[in-house]
């Protein structure tokens, strides 16, 4: 069933005089607004919002929701995003009044349960990362990167060292260089070798007494564990720099190895990936950071601590060396509550099995996909791998086969993998099945992919054939941006 009802905009449903809510009568003596506020500061007309009823709002947004693919409805192997099942128990718990209806400025005594939860989460993340000092404040992975780079910057300032450069491999997420710039560093790209690992020689050439931080994603965006990481860490440390681990791919190594044990000084978690916070159509996430004891004093204020004397949890903002705040209030607590539930549900063995199963699923899918697509970085992977549709270019004449395959997958009801990332693999298709998919689903996906690769080039090039809309004109959208509705926009 194609749903065509949803495509009207809420503004086009508006009818003057309709109302979606009725608010209570004012129960205090009413004074005219003009006597309370100077007329020049008042709006003379109501804001020009749409006028719709509650049933219209429900039907409109419900219909819109059906135009999305989601983890609840579809297999969603979007590489690097860890689109795993989002447990319903966590949703229910996080919505309870006792956790959701708390004001950020309530007294500490009145929120001891929440502070205990957050304090325990700090400890658990410290243990899982092997980096004991934790701040839960950053609001997203990229925000965590930025906060940690600020921590590094403050640390070096305190040491009286002027270090200006952040380095990261060419396969890094775009957030790495962008965060480095925002934290005031110059950014240097380090080459990857052909096998996807960091080119250590190139790294050596760029290390010096201006090196502040080397950012590494390990396992990498190619789904490979770089076994040189200890060597790299030693080199960077010898040069006086710090190692930052982009924790986007922690789903591969929970309970198996820890960043703190392979040389990282700082890292962030993406709880919305690794610990199954729902992605919410593009957020919210959270970006807690974990650092070494040496860097602890520089973490954002406040952290949650337990006072032995009073036997109470409290917000500690006493560290003078702290970089300060990076976000208002305590951070994305709702996401952290879900992460806490997820970690408590799994325990030590369960978390390890999450990674084992994620890696098994990815390797199994790789074993199937390599039968008909090129997988340039070997027969084994961690939680994800990157296939390349490049060879198909020659046989089919398609100019962008990865894009065409991705679009054709939509016809078969699968969300496509991440395409054209990392930038180092031509026609890359990055597949991350996660642990919450069955062998049957992986088999069905692989069989479909094989079928697609064997389909006529024309069929692929014009895909998708069955979706509500097909291949929107993105160039036009960017050249003549229409970013809001106006009465004349059509």
């Amino acid at each position: 069933m194609r749903n065509n009802h949803a495509t009207q905009l809420i503004f086009e449903l508006s009818t003057a005089g309709r109302n979606g809510v009725v608010l209570p009568q004012c129960d205090v003596p009413v004074q005219s607004a003009e006597t309370l506020i100077p007329n020049s500061l008042l709006q003379q007309v109501n804001p020009p919002l749409p006028e719709v009823t509650e049933p219209e709002v429900i039907r409109h947004f419900t219909n819109l929701s059906t135009l999305n693919m989601s983890v609840d409805t579809h297999y969603y192997p979007l590489g690097s995003c860890t689109m795993k099942y989002n447990p319903k128990r966590n949703e229910r718990i996080a919505a309870w009044d006792g956790l959701a209806q708390l004001h950020p400025y309530q007294s500490e005594a009145s929120i001891q349960g929440m502070l205990q939860l957050l304090c325990e989460l700090q400890q658990m993340l410290g243990e899982i990362s092997g980096l004991p000092a934790v701040s839960l404040q950053p609001a997203a992975g990229a925000h965590g990167e930025l906060a940690a780079l600020m921590v590094a910057s403050a640390f070096f300032r305190q040491q009286g060292q002027h270090r200006t450069k952040v380095l990261a491999p060419d396969s890094a997420h775009g957030t790495n260089p962008a965060s480095a710039r925002m934290a005031g560093f110059d950014f240097v790209t380090i080459r990857s070798q052909e096998d996807g690992r960091v080119d250590v020689e190139h790294l050596k050439e760029n290390l010096g007494d201006d090196t502040a931080v080397f950012m590494i994603t390990n396992p990498s965006t190619l789904g490979l564990f770089d076994d040189q990481v200890q060597t790299i860490a030693d080199l960077v440390h010898d040069a006086g720099g710090l190692i930052y681990l982009d924790g986007a791919n922690m789903n591969a190594i929970l309970g198996i190895t820890r960043p703190g044990d392979f040389g990282a000084d700082m890292m962030h978690f993406n709880p919305h990936k690794t610990f199954s916070g729902p992605h919410g159509g593009g957020g919210p996430g959270a970006g807690p950071i974990c650092v070494t004891e040496t860097l602890r004093p520089y973490l954002p204020n406040p952290t949650v601590e337990f006072c032995d004397e009073s036997q109470m949890y409290f917000l500690d903002d006493s560290s003078e060396a702290s970089i300060g705040r990076v976000r208002s209030f305590f951070g994305n607590v709702g996401v952290l509550v879900r992460a806490y539930c997820y970690i408590r549900t799994h325990g030590p063995d369960g978390l390890k099995r999450v990674s084992e199963t994620a890696v098994l699923n990815a390797n199994y899918l790789l074993s199937q996909v390599k039968q008909f697509l090129d997988v340039p970085h070997g027969d084994r992977c961690m939680h994800e791998f990157v296939a390349s549709a490049s060879p198909i270019k020659e046989t089919t004449g398609l100019k962008q086969p990865a894009m065409d395959i991705a679009k054709r997958l939509l016809d078969y009801g699968f969300h496509p993998p991440t395409v054209y990332f990392p930038l180092t693999v031509p026609e890359g298709m990055m597949m991350e099945p996660t642990e919450t998919e069955s062998k049957q689903t992986l088999d069905a996906f692989a069989a479909t992919l094989r079928k697609i690769v064997e389909e006529p080039a024309e069929t692929l090039h014009h895909a998708p054939h069955t979706t509500n809309i097909r291949r929107p004109d993105e160039v036009m959208a960017a050249r003549q941006p229409i970013v809001k509705w106006t009465e004349t926009a059509d």
């Binding site: 979606g20 500061l41 600020m150 970013v483």
Partner: protein, 440 residues
């Protein structure tokens, strides 16, 4: 393990297909000396029932606002959330989807983003909005960075002291790192002393942290004379009543969007609103949805102007931000749709009336006095002549009233002052009780 499927027999089959003898073998690329070799020292697993009990135990140790009367505000407000917001936002098709990289199967989210952007423009009077940032505080700092980018003046920004102290702390954090001077002034009358040709932007808040409404248009003129940009943080609920920032000459508007349909959540996740003048659209950070047509000429929506963003521009991006608060932009879009022009007017008016009633009743008491004659919206400051704010708050808590936010922690000179917020949810009875308890 609760969320995985494959049986031992299937796992064996999968290993055979891979050509491995064990799952351990799949981790061979990790050198043995890096492996943990022990179990993580975290508590053991809980089933759903045990987890639920454990979490109930934690939740019980919190005294939430459904058991208290909440007069706390200071950037996070107890407004009413209509049931439709939760009903729609809890649909799995919305909350278990991700960034709309494939527009054909993300039209729901993309259209919501486009509608959200339009609603924010209608509410603020600005030309363009992004699809949201993390929260009000990070939106404020992103706006200041954007202003530096636009004006190419990077040596100084100015912030009024009446901007949320935590927003100012965030700005200090960011700007200490990049070496831009942040000048804080007490109020707008001091702007002429600090505005110069190197100043990129001025950040004000209206209604400000103390609840007072600034004369935004007058400040805008002053700021523009120096060639700087005016960034204004607003309370979206106030815009049912107050002049829109877009009609007062503001260049970039930011706001904490929590008031628009999101519960308190102990501070997050919230919604960072950011909107600006048309000419700055290519400098906006964050995601933006745009209208276009598909192959068959159907109107549809895509992520647009992506060449600003980190996944394309890397170190040259306008910001490192790579997500929006999609779920909370959705909540705001639903909230604004169901409220409509009259609903927004009514909720703003109820806040205005009740806050003024509360302020007048409290300041009738000998113990309290106002600290300012400036007009206010839904929040105000009172001074306790007996200088015992902590005692007052404690006493009120005994009556299950969260009476206000003590200001001393941020403003030592206001250590005898309390910031009180009154939303449409507070009844005359609750306000009278507050007055009685604080006055007794």
């Amino acid at each position: 393990m609760p969320y995985t499927y494959n049986t031992p027999a299937q796992q064996k089959e999968m290993l055979e297909a891979i050509g491995a003898t064990s799952i351990d073998e799949l981790f061979d690329s990790i050198p043995d000396n890096m492996k943990l070799g022990r179990a993580l020292q975290i508590p053991s697993a809980l089933g759903e029932l045990e987890l639920t009990s454990h979490m109930q135990e934690l939740a019980r140790q919190n005294s939430d606002i459904t058991h208290n009367t909440c007069f706390l505000g200071a950037g996070s407000y107890d407004h009413f959330v209509p049931a439709v917001v939760d009903a729609l936002a809890s649909r799995g098709e919305f909350y278990t989807s991700y960034t709309p990289y494939q527009p054909e199967v993300s039209q729901g989210n993309l259209q919501v983003m486009f509608e959200y952007q339009t609603l924010i423009c209608q509410l603020t009077g600005m030309d363009v909005s992004n699809a949201s940032l993390y929260d009000g505080g990070s939106a404020a700092v992103e706006a200041m960075l954007m202003a530096i980018n636009i004006t190419r003046r990077n040596s100084r920004v100015v912030v009024l002291e009446s901007v949320h102290p935590e927003y100012r702390q965030i700005i200090s954090t960011y700007f200490a790192t990049i070496g831009t001077e942040v000048v804080t002034v007490a109020d707008s009358s001091q702007l002429p002393n600090v505005l110069d040709e190197n100043t990129a932007a001025v950040l004000i808040q209206s209604p400000n942290f103390f609840g007072n409404i600034e004369d935004v248009a007058a400040i805008a003129d002053q700021v523009h004379e120096s060639g700087a940009l005016l960034v204004c943080s607003v309370d979206p609920i106030s815009l049912g009543l107050l002049k829109r920032p877009g009609d007062s000459g503001v260049d970039i508007v930011v706001a904490e969007g929590q008031s628009l349909g999101t519960p308190l959540l102990y501070g997050g996740p919230y919604l960072g609103i950011m909107a600006c003048r048309e000419e700055f659209v290519r400098r906006l950070p964050g995601r933006i949805a745009g209208q276009t047509v598909d192959q068959d000429g159907n109107r549809c929506w895509v992520l647009t102007l992506q060449t600003r963003e980190q996944h394309i521009r890397r170190e040259k991006a306008t910001s490192n931000i790579c997500t929006n608060q999609g779920l909370f932009a959705l909540r705001a879009a639903i909230y604004l749709s169901v409220m409509g022009p009259q609903g927004m007017r009514d909720v703003a008016d109820l806040c205005l009336q009740k806050a003024h009633y509360a302020q007048q009743q409290l300041t009738h008491l000998d113990r309290f006095e106002t600290v300012s004659d400036l007009p206010f919206f839904k929040e105000f400051v009172i001074r306790d002549k007996q200088n015992d704010v902590a005692g007052l708050l404690e006493k009120a808590e005994d009556f299950n009233i969260l009476a206000g936010v003590a200001l001393g922690r941020w403003y030592p000179e206001l250590e005898d002052c309390l910031l009180i917020a009154v939303t449409e949810k507070r009844t005359v009875h609750e306000i009278d009780q507050l007055v009685e308890v604080l006055g007794s």
